[in-house]
Amino acid sequence: MNALDRALLIAARELAAERRHPDGFVAALTFTGLLVLMESLAFGPGQARQPGVASALFWIAILFAATLVATRSFDRELEDDAIDAVLVLDGGREALYAGKLVAIWVVLAIVALAAALLSLVLLDPGVALPGHLVLIGVLGTLALPPVIVLTTLLALRVRARVALVPILSFPILIPQLVACTQGAAAALTGDASAALGWAGILAAFALVYGALGLTIVPAAIE
């Protein structure tokens, strides 16, 4: 069994557990839905549909949603020490990181899609370049989880993990958040070249932090 097979096995295991007990998914979906709703009420329809405002709040919601999903995922691993059964195995640590990334991306992509549809209904921002917006959505949801999963793994045995993960990961994720926001705003306003530029930056972030996590994780998990 090669590394990719092992990672996919972990992802399938994670998604099966999440399907049976969708705690993380439901929490993330509720949080993002409420945030979009509160945004439309707090800013009023005029300001809330501004591309910069709508994009920024959407991606902040997705960032928190990613943290919720990752935290719940590793809580499940720590119950009954299930994680130890994987860490003992050859390639288990890398597979755990990569598999969690895949599974969390799938969950986050569904949450982002639902939140985007809700935003379109409630805010009616007007989408000039829907294909570009989807591209930013896909790459943005790929660029955020590597840092969150990595910091969750590093803080795995820390009692204050729930507070520590955002404190450690959010400062690192500010460039990704800016790229997501600017890219989405560009897609909404019809600036194709800017949207593609930000998409490239997001792809680079996803690759760099994904690879960095794979090199750090084997030695860093306790």
Partner: protein, 203 residues
């Protein structure tokens, strides 16, 4: 101590956790057969098993595991909640590249024929323990590490565990077991050690 180079071993291992030295310069080589590990609570038995499993950080020394990763069954069942017992065991066997076709048979032998497709969080502590011990039969590896395997087990499960252990020993597997119930197993053990204050002594 055995001197077969293919055996799993720890060489001069020291483990320090939270500024406390748990294991002090331990060297131990595990050949085929049952090795019992005894000692008072807090002596470091679990840490020694975790050192063999690669789960304890070594402050000094080295771990050699030439036969591939061991099977480690700790105090807790180590099964992922949200999955059934069958799914958990099939996943772990598949990760090792083993065919998972005999998972259902193994769980039936452990008395979980009607429970194997329920999520593990709906099983009792004893049933979860049975499911985790069924891994001895679904993941046939060179070294089996068992930490107090008799906890939570009823009389039927104890018989089943003895049978599984006998099969493992006949197959030539090495089994390292930390237990307080050593009297029942002394006659089967190839070696017995006492761990006290981080130091190991053969009986």
């Amino acid at each position: 101590m055995r001197r077969v180079p293919e055996n799993a071993s720890l060489h001069d291992v020291t483990v320090v956790l939270d500024d406390r030295t748990i294991l002090r310069g331990i060297s131990l080589e595990l050949g085929p057969g049952l090795t019992l590990l005894r000692g008072p609570n807090g002596a470091g038995k679990t840490t020694l098993l975790r050192a063999f499993a690669g789960l304890a950080p070594l402050a000094r020394g080295r771990r050699s595991m030439p036969g591939g990763p061991p099977l480690y069954i700790g105090h807790r069942p180590m099964l992922l909640r949200g999955l059934t017992a069958r799914e958990n065991l099939a996943f772990l066997a598949a990760f090792r590249g083993l065919v998972a076709s005999d998972v259902a048979d193994a769980l039936r032998k452990w008395g979980l024929g009607d429970e194997m497709d329920r999520p593990v969080e709906r099983l009792s502590a004893g049933q979860r323990r049975r499911a985790s011990l069924a891994r001895i039969e679904t993941e046939q590896v060179g070294l089996v590490l068992l930490d107090e395997p008799f906890a939570d087990l009823d009389a039927d499960a104890l018989v089943r565990l003895r049978a599984a252990l006998n099969t493992s020993l006949i197959r030539g597997q090495a089994v390292l077991m930390a237990t307080h119930l050593h009297h029942e197993l002394d006659q089967d053990a190839a070696h017995s050690y006492v761990l006290d204050d981080g130091a190991l002594r053969e009986l």
